[in-house]
């Protein structure tokens, strides 16, 4: 067992949780119920630090252009965004910091875990090329190699064919393990799952959408791709069928996005609701009932977390399998 790799992976996970807990700030309205207070943990929180951005404890890449003003008057000390870069060309819908001028790209606690997922992929798979070359590797390397071969033989090659499958295998493996590691890290206490934010899953679905169209147009030719969407129908039905097929083309990645988002958010929300029951009862006049509720609530919470662990891997598998199906259908249409 390669303990250095395990130690580095543990440092990445624990470090991300520590950074998130230390630097993130959840906006809770002051008269919130216990449930709303817990649900706010599902919203992305910008990373705020109470030091100046030239201070010694600033961890992320602080912007040196002086765009940081006192952002949140949290009590008596002012907090600055750890990273806020102004990008003028983005629409104001994507503004992460409404109180600073210009459209700001802000480091939130979601990005920390996405970066951590990528670092985990790099660390976990670092022994795989050596194992494939020489046949010597530790347990985790062998398991991950077997996993990649399973992805290639069961998901990619049956849908894309042998040579296209080998070309696009890194793409699908990246999607699978990125989503899987992000979802699994969300089970660690103190963490945030990036896939509970619909914009993260939107980005992943857009990757699938543009690869469907781009690779399809490259493989079949730009005009032939759009013509081959529609099966052979009489000419008077063609406009309606074309509209239906184009809507289907857009809806399939949209369904991917909603499925991943809702599964992850739903699991977290159920666990948070069970925990919120305890605090809800503690705040009412029946507060000894909170002690009584706590044992079943934690029991149910543990049970749901077990299911969530399974759902995390399953949703990564479903996303990748359907992406393979869609891209394969666009590369090699059967009508």
């Amino acid at each position: 067992m390669n303990f250095l790799r395990l130690l580095l992976m543990a440092i990445v996970i624990v470090g991300s949780c520590f950074l998130t807990v230390t630097y993130s700030d959840h906006h809770t309205p002051t008269n919130a119920t216990a449930f709303e207070d817990l649900y706010m943990h599902l919203m992305p929180a910008p990373m705020l630090s109470s030091q100046e951005h030239h201070g010694a404890e600033d961890t992320a890449a602080a912007d040196d252009h002086g765009h940081e003003h006192p952002a949140e008057g949290a009590g008596h000390d002012t907090k600055h965004y750890v990273f806020a870069q102004s990008l003028g060309f983005l629409p104001s819908l994507m503004d992460g910091a409404p109180d600073i001028d210009g459209t700001q790209l802000v480091l939130t606690n979601l990005q920390v875990f996405q970066i951590a997922s990528i670092l985990l992929i790099v660390l976990a798979f670092s022994g795989v090329p050596g194992y494939l070359r020489t046949g010597r590797g530790d347990g985790m390397t062998r398991v991950l190699t077997g996993w990649i071969l399973w992805i290639r033989d069961e998901m990619v090659v049956p849908n894309l064919g042998a040579d296209d499958g080998r070309r696009f295998l890194p793409f699908f493996c990246s999607i699978f393990f990125f989503i899987a590691f992000m979802n699994l890290m969300g089970l660690v206490p103190g963490s945030v799952t990036p896939t509970t934010n619909i914009f993260v899953t939107l980005a992943l679905a857009l990757i699938t959408f543009f690869s469907m169209i781009g690779l399809g147009m490259k493989a079949q030719g730009p005009v032939a791709f759009w013509k081959n969407l529609v099966p052979h129908v009489p000419a008077w039905m063609w406009p309606m069928m074309f509209l239906i097929e184009v809507v289907g083309l857009v809806i399939k990645p949209f369904a991917l996005m909603i499925r991943l988002f809702a599964n992850m958010t739903g699991g977290h929300m159920v666990v948070l609701s069970f925990m919120g029951l305890i605090f809800f009862f503690a705040g009412t006049d029946l507060s000894p009932m909170a002690w009584g509720v706590s044992v079943p609530a934690v029991g149910f919470g543990v049970f749901i977390m077990i299911i969530e662990g399974f759902v995390a891997l399953l949703q990564a598998y479903i996303f990748t399998q359907l992406s393979c199906l869609f891209v394969g259908a666009c590369l090699h249409p059967d009508h």
């Binding site: 369904a255 909603i258 499925r259 809702a262 599964n263 739903g266 399953l314 949703q315 479903i318 399998q321």
Partner: protein, 86 residues
Amino acid sequence: MIDPVETTNQVVDIAKFGAAVGAGLVAVGAGMGIGRIGAAANEGIARQPEAAGDIRGNSIILAALIEGVCLFAIVLSLLIVLGIGN
């Protein structure tokens, strides 16, 4: 994320009631669909135990697809509940 809509109290309560009923119905739909998959899968495994692995793999994929459809409606109910405030 979503701007609250200024409405009267009674309309807000009825809207939230509607969202809650909708979410409950969605659970019924998901249960029925996945129940049928479970019944067919168990029957298939009983007829031909060697195909248990294939049937299990297929059942999981189909159950996740059905759940995806039901989660559309759950997300809608969530949007209704979170988007209405006083």
